[in-house]
């Protein structure tokens, strides 16, 4: 399993649009992807699951990818939260 800690670049932390696009990105990968925050773990392919983390401003989350192409998926999701999240 590949894991990484990443701060969400959006000043709002996780929010609805970001969760929507994050889940869509994650569904493009064959491996399982989870996102964890404050002891809770969410299926990153499900928008409402991500939102249940209530990861507000300054949240640092842990990404976990497991299965086919896990390293590639983890890096793309990490970049999404670090870079693309700013514009959403």
């Amino acid at each position: 399993m590949a894991t990484a800690e990443v701060g969400i670049a959006s000043p709002w932390g996780m929010h609805a649009r970001l969760a929507f696009h994050l889940s869509a990105l994650c569904r493009t990968f064959p491996c399982a992807i989870h996102i964890a925050f404050r002891g809770q773990r969410a299926d990153a392919k499900e928008m409402t699951d991500i939102l249940l983390l209530a990861a507000g401003p300054d949240a640092v989350v842990t990404l976990e990818a497991e299965g086919e192409g896990e390293e590639d998926a983890l890096e793309k999701v990490r970049q999404f939260l670090l870079v693309d999240a700013k514009a959403l």
Partner: protein
């Protein structure tokens, strides 16, 4: 009376309030606050905080948000230790209409639980309901 504040994305909160006013004719105990992503997070938080504070007549405020984990909900959660309030995420119109009926004779915490249950109970799959009525269920 328990204050009720609708807090949601875009114009949703004000549209919910307008619909409640249209149906009941009087929704004076309800208010709405929008979260604007064009302002900075601290300013948005201050606007929401003031709306909740203004709705508190001394018996607390029930805040209803549109989506758990969305920004309006997250802002309200961040205020929970500063204000006398309960939050229900997943507002719907039946819930708001029931809130008007309850807010004058119910305490905050009882009202919050009743409205959460009422909102859940009033989501229907219309075809199921119609099939039962027509004897096809």
């Amino acid at each position: 009376m328990v204050g009720v504040v609708i807090c949601a994305h875009g114009n949703l909160a004000h549209e919910f309030l307008a619909a409640a006013k249209f149906i009941t004719g009087n929704a004076d105990g309800l208010s709405a606050v929008a979260v604007d992503h064009n302002v900075d997070p601290a300013e948005a938080r201050a606007i929401v905080k003031e709306a909740i504070r203004a709705a508190d007549e001394g018996n607390g405020v029930l805040v209803v948000t549109d989506l758990y984990g969305g920004t309006p909900s997250n802002i309200c959660i961040s205020l929970q230790d500063e204000l006398q309030m309960e939050i229900i995420a997943g507002v719907n119109l039946p819930m708001l209409l029931k809130a008007i009926a309850l807010q004058k004779n119910c305490d905050l915490h009882t009202m919050a639980r009743k409205l959460r249950d009422y909102g859940r109970e009033n989501i229907h799959l219309a075809s199921d309901f119609l099939n039962i009525k027509n004897g096809h269920g």
